[in-house]
Amino acid sequence: MAQANLLSPPSQIPPPVALQLSQKAPPILAAPPTSSLPWPLSLLFTRETPESWAIHENLFLASIRTGDDASARQILDRLTARFGEDNERIVTMHGIYEEALAKDDKALERIFEAYEKILRDDPTNFGVRKRRVAVLKSLGRTADAITALTVLVENSPIDAEAWAELSELYAGVGAWGQAIFSMEEVLLIMPNSWSAHAQVATLHYLSSPTSLPALSLALRHFARSVELNEYYLRGYYGLKLVAEKLIPLLSDSSSSNAKRNTDDDDVPPPNLASVKKLDELATSKLAEIVRQYGSGKKGWTGFDEAEVIAARELLDRK
């Protein structure tokens, strides 16, 4: 795996990487980017670049995550000194810090109140809106969180992060239709995201694991995600899972009522031969990934371990 750096951290940070990132705190904290000299000199001797603040922000998040609250506080103070109390992102980061320190629901409630107050003053602060949803989520008030998120996406319908979160919340309460809709919005914003395709497929599959139209949609979305990324383990996993369910359904319907499905549905189901072929291909690909990962071959170790184990289990099931 590529060395994680603080300037452009990967979108998904597993715990060891987060720890590795937050351990970079001491040297960064020891060398402040702003100069301590008086004003005219400070302009000349500053080492400040936009990157240094991006690094600070990511370091802040990593420290919060790994429980290094003291470093987080220092970074936050430094950022506040530089950008001022009222900066939108600083307000949000203050919120994150408070949330991380909150011991119980009481404290979270108080933070929630504070967010409400901020949003009354400035309803356009989307960072705080998202934090508010996060607090509602951690308080277990899923319905409220969903309502808050729908307001958010109503006002900012091009926010992929918010749509994805909304989809997850809907899926959590079993509202599959809404979850799929939200995930499709993510797809509209990021049409080439293979993970979004796989997520849509997963939602289709979970919504009704036995119906032919849902399964064929799931199969197609998984196929698209694999088409976009040839080494996407989750795509192959889903492909195999769905194909195995589809094969009996398709052979049934092709014998008895092949006509009916194509008539009342605008999406014709895939034909049996290619589904079988896909099943085979996915199986061989999964087997290859599992084998290569097991042998620790260079270039094959970037897979998530849990996913590889799941794939192995799926292959062994027969």
């Binding site: 109503e154 006002n155 797809l187 509209l188 088409e227 896909l278």
Partner: protein, 259 residues
């Protein structure tokens, strides 16, 4: 074979110390000063109110839908299209639905536009004033000096560029007058500013002018009527021919993986 006569002019070495160097230094310093003046003069971009943000992003959503429609299955695309088109036509996303259909107010009476123009004006002033002052200073003190000789030959076309303020016909083009040196530094110091101030500086007016050439490139300029944009987008969506990218993806994938 006669060598072309090489013009030699004996220059006082003091010309270098008292004209060439001061002009250069002054030019660099004004650039830096202008950079910081611009930073001070800039006011933070005005925050949009929530309805305005909503209006803008709703339009982007429609554009996204149009651009990326091929990821959606026909049913879900038709549903979305129907919703977006009707919402656009009803003006559901408009920031202020009352003014729909009315002509746009005069931009001069809108304080937001005025502010933008003021900002532009301030930028222009920060460029014009030092430029005028320095030009006057050079004209007053250093006009008519020949201050340096370029180490390479040039064609006579460069005469007007390199010898402005020195009215001699026969002087070799390689001699540079003080006023021309001022112009050369005026346009040629960008790399120096990049080195001193970082690449995103506002010291040189050339880049400024380039940036000004297309100011309203934003999606929804103040002069555009959002309602018109929405209706336009609704029309675009109506005529969109939908192609589903997932159609036949399984065969494509089989072909790709087996090849």
């Amino acid at each position: 074979m006669a060598q072309p006569v090489v013009q030699t002019i004996h220059r006082d070495p003091a010309l270098f110390w008292w004209i060439l160097l001061p002009i250069t230094v002054v030019m660099i310093l004004t650039g830096i000063l202008r950079h910081y003046a611009m930073i001070l003069l800039q006011n933070a971009p005005k925050k949009l109110a929530l309805p305005q943000i909503r209006q803008q992003r709703a339009l982007v959503r429609g554009i996204n839908l149009r651009a990326n429609a091929n990821v959606l299955s026909p049913t879900s695309f038709q549903a979305r299209k129907a919703y977006m088109v009707s919402a656009y036509q009803e003006g559901k996303f408009l920031a202020d639905p009352e003014s729909r259909g009315k002509p746009r107010p005069n931009p001069m009476s809108d304080p937001a536009t005025m502010e933008g123009m003021m900002g532009m004006m301030k930028g222009n002033m920060a460029m014009m004033i030092p430029q005028t002052l320095i030009m006057g200073w050079i004209n007053a003190f250093f006009s008519g000096f020949v201050i340096m000789k370029l180490p390479f030959p040039l064609t006579p076309q460069f005469k007007s560029m390199l010898q402005s303020g020195v009215g001699t016909r026969d002087l070799d083009v390689r001699w540079v007058s003080s006023l021309s040196w001022y112009f050369l530094t005026l346009f040629g110091l960008q790399p120096v500013y990049n080195f001193i101030l970082g690449s995103n500086n506002s010291a040189n007016q050339v880049t400024q002018q380039m940036a000004m050439a297309n100011p309203g490139a934003g999606l929804m300029g103040p002069e555009q009527d959002p309602d018109k944009l929405f209706l336009n987008e609704a029309e675009n969506l109506e005529v969109l021919e939908h192609r589903w990218i997932l159609d036949g993806v399984e065969d494509r994938l089989v072909a790709k993986l087996t090849s």
